[in-house]
């Protein structure tokens, strides 16, 4: 490092504060609720190669600090003072924008006529055109349906907005005014950033500033590697699943091989499933990418929350994502709902790390966000009032020494809810219950956090409920070291009534008069043997109504009635429990066990390999033919059954063998033909 430790600390604070100031400015002057309420925006200061040196804390989207502006800057070429680049193109910006609504700007920061740094900002805009209002739909099958694509272009030339670029933008979205309002707020935040950088240079000199851009990253890399050294050297493999990709009932598998050596981490996602024809792909361009590393950055920040948030934190990490998979899709794969897969990537890395550090890592969390949406019937003008009743999340995973948080969990996104009184003012809806979901936290010596429940009814006939981001209906958040998995998600019509009906993973549901709908989110996984849980802790859960008397007895071996523990009966019950299998690290729940008994790692790798050997244009059709037996027989709304699945597995394997044989140049199969 070139700077002395005192100057470096001062420069680090000033750069980080400048990035935060840009973010607060954007939040204050931005126009849409994406900025004001969801804080779906961010800002940063980048070094001359386009990597972030300073990123805001406690405002905006966390965890995007390992993005790379380099490719977008190179695509545009020469930049003058006052120029600003605009792009939203996930493929041409090589993952700088991760879906089309994220309007992204880059401004070169000059000191005199010398280029010294870059400013960056993005805002999730209300709409960028495409097939559906707000542009995002999981069932978009290619990126052209997702809206206007803007390659990296100069939106502003020497301080003047290019009317041609603005014209294209305005003409291709449903909300031109709010979008331009947000864009102008970003431009103003960029110019504030440049002023702050110039001020730092005036106070500390150009050389100190230039040295600080390298030193801050180097220092951060030193700190994060020191923390990564806590992971024992070794190779850790793990996979986790999304229930399905919405357009087909087949699970999506995320697979990682994590190799750790002296604080250097390699993540190899070889064996991960193929890209899908739904908007679940993450456009990483095959490079190290913020959306694949957020669990690792959380790992660092768990040990030391003062480590600066910049690209240096991931310097010790390398990544391999095979082209053509959900984690490195090929244009024009749709990407709008990529965050659903980001959750599962985090779970997968969590599982790998848990094998390395079982005393530190938590069990799986619920790993989803379900914005539960009510669409009211059309009014006289043909408009529909569409509101998010509540953004539903689930419980956190427990870890050694602590229960998982109830009804929320760690991760890069921490979303605020909607007051019931606000929701009931904005739509004709009555919320009957909004609370924690008892008995849903994975039992364990340390209990997984409970999921949540939302029950409501609509007053207007013709109202519909839409579920987005629904997952973990089949595969549960797993438990760790004897801990049980959290309860899976459910949606139920008329819960508790005679006509109660499980709806499963919903797309759109029509509500009849007096119908109630209930969304139950998953609980987090438990940690450790539940029969060793402190009896007082079980009693406290019972007193608070988070664990029922019955569950206390069956899941924890604690006999309790009327708020009092029967100590003798408890001791007897607990003594009679068989010791849990000491070798079994994870409890995945029955559905995943059934699935993996047939579709194991070996079979899944063979399927991916044989499809990837096909020319990219024909892969989808080829895969559908290969998996035709599954596509025909699997039902998203029905649990997997072992025997049936074994049969399907044999059918798929036969298809696979034929395909593999066909792929071998001199195979018997060909000879026979």
């Amino acid at each position: 490092m070139k700077l002395d430790p005192v100057t470096l600390e001062i420069m680090s604070m000033k750069l980080s504060a400048a990035a935060s100031e840009m973010a607060y400015f954007l939040k204050r002057t931005g126009r849409t609720l994406y900025i004001k309420e969801s804080e779906d925006f961010s800002t940063a200061i980048a070094n001359l190669s386009g990597k972030f040196v300073a990123y805001p804390q406690n405002v905006g989207v966390s965890g995007f600090f390992d993005l790379d502006c380099g490719p977008a800057i190179q695509a545009v070429g020469h930049l003058d003072p006052g120029d600003v680049i605009l792009t939203n193109h996930p493929y041409m910006s090589k993952g700088l924008a991760t879906h089309l609504p994220d309007l992204t700007v880059i401004r070169p920061f000059f000191h005199g006529d010398k280029l010294v740094a870059y400013g960056w900002a993005f805002v999730h805009s209300a709409d960028v055109g495409g097939r559906v209002p707000s542009s995002i739909s999981p069932s978009n099958s290619d990126i052209f349906q997702e809206g206007l694509m803007i390659p990296p272009v100069k939106l502003v030339r020497k301080g003047e907005i290019d009317p041609v670029v603005e014209g294209f933008l305005r003409s291709n979205c449903r909300t031109p005014e709010p979008n331009m309002g947000d864009v102008r707020a970003m431009l103003a935040a960029m110019s504030l950033g440049e002023k702050r950088v110039q001020r730092i240079i005036e106070q500390h000199g150009l050389e100190t500033f230039e040295n600080s851009l390298g030193d801050v990253i180097e220092y951060t890399a030193l700190k994060s590697r020191e923390i990564f050294r806590k992971i024992p050297d070794g190779v850790y493999e793990f996979n986790d699943f999304l229930d399905d990709d919405l357009v087909s009932p087949i699970p999506i598998r995320i697979r990682v091989k994590m190799t750790v050596s002296d604080g250097l981490i390699d993540l190899d996602f070889d064996g991960t499933d193929l890209q899908v024809a739904a908007a679940y792909n993450i456009p990483t361009a095959g490079i190290r990418h913020a959306q694949l590393t957020s669990w690792l950055t959380s790992f660092v920040l768990t040990h030391d929350k003062t480590v600066p948030q910049n690209a240096g934190m991931l310097d010790p990490v390398s990544i391999h994502t095979p082209k053509g998979t959900v984690l490195h899709p090929i244009f024009p794969a749709p990407v709008g709902v990529r965050h659903a897969v980001v959750h599962r990537v985090m779970d997968t890395e969590n599982g790998a790390l848990a094998q390395a550090l079982p005393e530190f890592m938590p069990a799986a969390c619920a790993g989803l966000i379900i914005p539960t949406v009510l669409a009211e019937p059309e009014d006289a003008n043909g408009d529909r009032n569409v509101v998010v009743v509540e953004p539903m999340v689930g419980g956190g995973g427990a870890w050694n020494g602590h229960d998982g948080p109830d009804g929320r969990h760690s991760g890069p996104v921490s979303i605020g809810n909607n007051p019931i009184e606000v929701t009931e003012t904005g739509a004709a809806v009555t919320i009957l219950r909004y609370g924690l979901r008892p008995d849903s936290g994975g039992p364990g010596k340390w209990r997984g956090g409970t999921g949540m429940e939302l029950t409501f009814k609509a007053k207007r006939l013709g109202s519909q409920v839409l579920g987005r981001g629904m997952d973990r209906f089949r595969f549960q958040p797993w438990g760790l070291l004897g801990g049980k998995p959290g309860a899976q998600a459910r949606t139920i019509l008329n819960m508790g009534r005679e006509d109660e009906r499980d709806l499963g993973k919903i797309d759109v549901v029509d509500l009849g008069p007096n119908d109630t709908i209930t969304v139950l989110t998953p609980g987090g996984g438990g940690y450790g043997n539940p029969f060793e849980r402190d009896v007082e802790a079980v009693l406290w859960d019972v007193k608070r109504g988070l664990v029922s008397d019955e569950a206390a007895r069956t899941d924890y071996g604690v006999v309790v009635g009327g708020g009092v523990v029967d100590a003798a009966a408890t001791e007897a019950l607990r003594a009679g429990q068989p010791k849990p299998d000491a070798d079994r690290m994870f409890d995945f729940g029955p559905q995943r066990r059934i699935w993996e008994a047939v579709f194991d790692d070996k079979l899944m790798r063979r399927i991916v390999a044989v499809v990837l050997a096909q020319p990219s244009g024909g892969r989808k059709a080829f895969r559908n033919r290969l998996l035709a037996p599954l596509l025909k027989a699997l039902d998203r709304y029905r649990p997997l059954e072992a025997e049936e699945l074994a049969e399907l597995g044999r059918d798929v394997t036969r298809n696979l063998e034929a395909a593999e044989a066909a792929a071998r140049p001199n195979s018997e199969h060909q000879a026979a033909a």
């Binding site: 980080s16 100031e21 400015f25 004001k36 700190k223 969990h409 760690s410 605020g416 007051p419 009184e421």
Partner: protein, 689 residues
């Protein structure tokens, strides 16, 4: 009008000291400090008052006593989880209202993030079948049998207080009041807080927090205020007691007994009130108050010399949506600890040694060097005259601790380490300050720092220097400034009516009646409040947005506009504010309103600040001492603040000493003593220009 001879005493009870400012009718002031007594907090109040009343100079000039008191006992009880055992009654289906909060997980980037404990745990939350719909119509009400059962359950839980929070009760207080009547009929004497009676604003969680806070501090504030009242009555038969509030106003004793929540953030609010008054007298338009203590520094922003209010403050981790004076806290104080991290970088804070064990030099067991140790090592603070000589400092211990830091950093001396640490601490403060200013949309280049508290004046010039601020104004009696603010504060009460999501064409039916109802309520309150004031006025505000927006702006509306029911005048106030921030406006038809607000401000007779006599003769330092600055010792003049008269001018390097704080004036800065006794400190070359 006040009787000519009333003695006004402001009292600010803090964690370490209870400060007193006695204002005589001629504007003359007496300052006093008593050590606080957490076991019996009203004892030092009584002791200090007795001392003041026995003072000949005071007794001879005054008749009658008005005590304005700010206390943090409610706040401390809540922060330490020592509030009353409270049962909460909520609408069926919402038992987890307090568990869920607003859904966000603090520190969510940590894999070990935990959610805060709810203000009331789930076992003490009871559901009842009482509810209104979004128009305020009651759709569910418990039967007598359900009330019997609920009251039996309340009896079993044996709470000290009860809070009632029902869905959509913000529209009308009647629903919760009806439930309260039924409960009290069955359990007489129960202390009950209804959410809508304290603050009837939309958003059930935030309203529940207000109701719970009020309930939790209710019993102990009642006990404290009653004992205080008795003690003060024993001192003076004509004494009147008032309480400072979080919105920078005062409340009568009976008001405080009913709504103790309003007193919780009174300390910082009072300091800001005094700063605002002083800023006006000094002609400072944009100011930043900087109250630096042992563990944190409180900052408030003054615009046009006026305090700013916020509706998004916090008590600990709990949100408070009632309007209070906007005071933000940053984690930097005299007790902030120096640390070298594994990569060899020097960090200052966020860990703090507070006042116990405190800085190494205090000799109370502290072993890690702190910011205060740095001031001492550099010679900024005189170790032989700390707190007017009331505390002896162990300089050698401080130097030894700093020497260890210096060795690890490869710096030549403990002073070099101290200077490095102070520059880091200063940058930490200036960057936090910039973020705060950015959130409010302020330009940092215009703001004058008004430092108070024990360490504020010591640190302020360094902060102004790094942050590029134009100057500093150190108030007289900087360390008892909050007590002064208490005496200066006007009586104030805020009202709010939620009107749902009301569109343009429905506004006339809602807003005029809301304002006139609130005004009638305010008039009734004012008539009943036993206060000596010299007039009162109203302020009108409305929370507006354009259709489709989710974010409201609180907009001031002129009294004439309200009086003449000028609807387009109301809209214009919003259009203007919106245009100033976003550069565009929409048509009147797109305007919506959510809440209507009214404040009544009853002005207390203005405190005449005494004027310093002009300085006679040359401005002479009382002594000189060496202060370490930019790598070397500089000979610095030492001035005694009481000896400085109006108009005195001197340049740094200098320190100004007074019994409770020290002002450090580095080279390049010049002090001018203003007739109010304020030290105005500006860049020297700026003065020459």
């Amino acid at each position: 009008m006040p009787s000519i001879g009333t003695l006004r005493v402001g009292i600010d009870a803090g964690g370490t000291f209870t400060d007193f400012v006695a204002v005589l009718p001629n504007g003359q002031m007496h300052y006093h400090k008593e050590p606080s007594n957490p076991a019996d907090p009203s004892a030092p109040v009584e002791a200090g008052l007795r001392g003041l009343l026995q003072n000949e100079a005071i007794a001879s000039q005054t008749r009658g006593l008005l005590v304005v008191h700010g206390t943090t006992i409610g706040l401390n009880a809540v922060l330490q989880g020592k509030g009353a055992r409270t049962v909460v009654l909520v609408t069926r289906g919402l038992r987890d209202l307090l568990e869920i909060e607003r859904g966000r997980l603090p520190n969510h980037l940590s894999l070990h993030a935990v959610k805060p404990d709810p203000i009331v745990s789930r076992d003490l939350v009871l559901e009842i079948s009482a509810r209104a719909d979004s128009t305020g119509e009651i759709t569910d009400f418990p039967t007598a049998a359900e009330f019997d059962a609920v009251c039996e359950e309340i009896g079993r839980l044996a709470p000290e207080a009860v809070a009632i929070v029902l869905v959509n009760a913000y529209i009308s207080p009647k629903l919760e009041a009806a439930v309260e009547r039924e409960i009290k009929a069955r359990i007489p004497g129960l202390l009950v807080t209804c959410s809508a009676s304290v603050w009837p604003e939309l958003r059930e969680y935030e309203r529940a927090v207000i109701a719970c806070l009020n309930a939790k501090v209710h019993p102990l504030m009642e006990a404290y205020l009653q004992s205080l009242e008795t003690r003060i009555a024993g001192l003076s038969t004509t004494a009147k007691l008032q309480l400072s509030t979080s919105s920078g106003g005062v409340l009568s004793l009976s008001g405080a007994l009913e709504r103790p929540i309003e007193t919780m953030l009174s300390g910082p609010a009072s300091g800001t009130v005094a700063a605002s008054r002083l800023a006006r007298d000094l002609g400072i338009s944009s100011g930043i108050t900087f109250d630096m203590g042992g563990t944190s520094a409180d900052i408030a922003i003054l615009t046009d010399a006026r305090v700013e209010f916020t509706t998004s403050s916090h008590i600990g981790a709990l949100p408070l949506m009632m309007p209070v004076i906007g005071v933000s806290s940053i984690g930097a104080g005299g007790g902030s600890i120096l640390k070298i991290d594994s990569a060899g970088l020097l960090k200052v804070g966020p860990e703090s040694a507070g006042s116990r064990p405190g800085p190494v030099a205090f000799g109370l067991g502290g072993t890690q060097a702190t910011v205060t140790d740095c001031y001492i090592a550099l010679g900024i603070i005189d170790p032989t005259n700390f707190l007017g000589g009331r505390m002896t400092l162990d300089v050698d211990a401080a130097l030894a601790a700093l020497d260890a830091v210096a060795k690890r950093l490869g710096l030549p001396s403990p002073q070099a380490a101290a200077e490095a640490a102070l520059s880091i601490a200063t940058v930490g403060m200036s960057t936090e300050l910039f973020k705060l200013l950015a959130q409010g949309g302020h330009d940092p280049n215009e703001h004058v720092i008004m430092p108070f508290g024990g360490a504020g004046p010591t640190q302020a010039v360094m902060l102004a220097d790094d942050a590029g601020l134009p100057g500093i104004a150190v108030p007289p009696a900087a360390a008892t400034f909050c007590a002064l603010g208490a005496v200066m504060a006007d009586a104030r009460r805020d009202y709010l009516r939620s009107i749902g999501q009301t569109g343009w064409y429905d506004l006339p039916a809602k807003i005029w009646s809301a304002w006139s109802e609130m005004r009638a309520e305010a008039d009734a309150w004012f008539a009943a409040e036993d206060m000596t004031v010299c007039g009162h006025r109203f302020e009108y505000q409305i929370d507006m947005r354009y259709a489709g927006q989710s974010h409201n702006m609180i907009v001031h509306v002129d009294e004439e506009v309200v009086a003449s029911k000028n609807l387009s005048g109301v809209a214009e106030a919003f259009h203007k504010a919106h245009e100033a921030l976003y550069d565009f406006r929409e048509t009147d038809e797109k305007v919506e309103a959510v809440s209507v607000r009214l404040s009544i401000i009853a002005m207390v007779p203005e405190v005449a600040l005494a004027t310093l006599a002009p300085h006679q003769g040359k401005v002479e330092p009382s002594s000189h001492r060496k202060i370490f600055h930019r790598g070397g010792w500089v000979e610095s003049a030492v001035y005694q603040r009481p000896s400085l008269g109006g108009g005195a001018v001197f340049a740094g390097p200098a320190v100004v000493e007074q019994s409770d704080t020290t002002t450090w004036v580095p080279p390049g800065w010049t002090v001018t003593v203003h007739p109010t006794g304020t030290l105005l400190i500006n860049r020297s070359n700026a003065d020459e220009a």
